[in-house]
Symmetry: C2
């Protein structure tokens, strides 16, 4: 499982074996069961998680009790409540497991220490944050400018591996469309 | 005008006079007229801009010709087409000036060189990117979970200085609501 993390980092910066051991020493390993929460609304967000096995989702429950999915995360993806984690505030989001999952997780303090100990990791995190920014920007443009069908087609194109692992109800919630509309589109 | 850039950076990392001169030597100054475009859809995006005077907006024109506003940027804000700039692709967005504007702008090459020459600038850019990420995440949750009135109230609370500088039609486009709905809400 370590290799997935190493490959993820080495897509951006090369690492010697010693450097990778240093990186790894700043992370912990977590094992979670399907349906388990790893972040809960109104609670602290001590970690950012790198997924090595399984599938998770982050979602917001509005004041009427309706759930809105912000993100899915499968193998090789990062997930946390960004506002809670980076601003050290309580979570506005929930994150739970759609499948049994394993993650490498790191605290903000350890991430900052790692960046000081190994400067190229700061460049790595900057590149990942930039990629996250671009994805979020595209998500906004999609929500604002695309209709249900266009959003569904875009989802299939962007995430062909996800479509068979996620119940349709959750894909509909992610796309901001009704379950009925999604059923019509996916037949 | 230099002082606005210095203060912006020093909110995150302190700088000596020599260090600030080094920072400044990597930027250029641009002056733009109201209605002028600084980024145009389908064209390269060579710069990220830090606004020291004036007001700009980034927007996407969908295939039916409808315009959707992604972001406003006034003094002390950064603006570019993130995908175009960081991935060195052609722009999906347009950016134009709502008022005469002045910016400090930097190329990706100069930004990277600056980070190598002055390591703390990489930490600065990481912090700014993180803040941008949080803002975009909140924008998505707002679009997905809030109704027109809640979005308008949130906009006023987040950006009290903007509300009097921007035509109502553009605020409606940013919020994804009709001009008529906004008129009703703002009276």
């Amino acid at each position: 499982m370590e290799e997935i993390l190493r490959q993820q980092i080495e897509k951006i910066v090369p690492l010697t074996d010693d450097e990778f051991r240093l990186v790894l020493s700043h992370f912990s390993v977590g094992n979670y069961k399907k349906h388990q929460y790893i972040v809960q609304q109104e609670n602290p967000v001590p970690y950012v998680h790198f997924v090595v096995k399984g599938l998770l989702k982050s979602f917001y429950i509005d004041k009427s009790g309706k759930s809105h999915i912000l993100q899915f995360a499968m193998e090789d993806w990062w997930i946390t409540d960004n506002q809670g984690f980076y601003k050290e505030e309580n979570a506005t989001l929930n994150i739970d497991c759609l499948e049994d999952a394993q993650t490498y997780y790191i605290t903000l303090e350890n991430r900052d220490q790692l960046c000081v100990a190994l400067l190229k990791m700061e460049f790595f995190f900057l590149q990942k944050m930039t990629a996250g920014n671009i994805a979020l920007q595209n998500r906004i443009l999609s929500l604002m400018s695309k209709n249900s069908e266009e959003r569904y087609i875009q989802f299939i194109q962007l995430y062909p591996d996800l479509i068979h692992r996620i119940p349709k109800t959750l894909i509909a919630s992610y796309l901001g469309i009704s379950r009925e509309t999604l059923s019509r589109l996916s037949h």
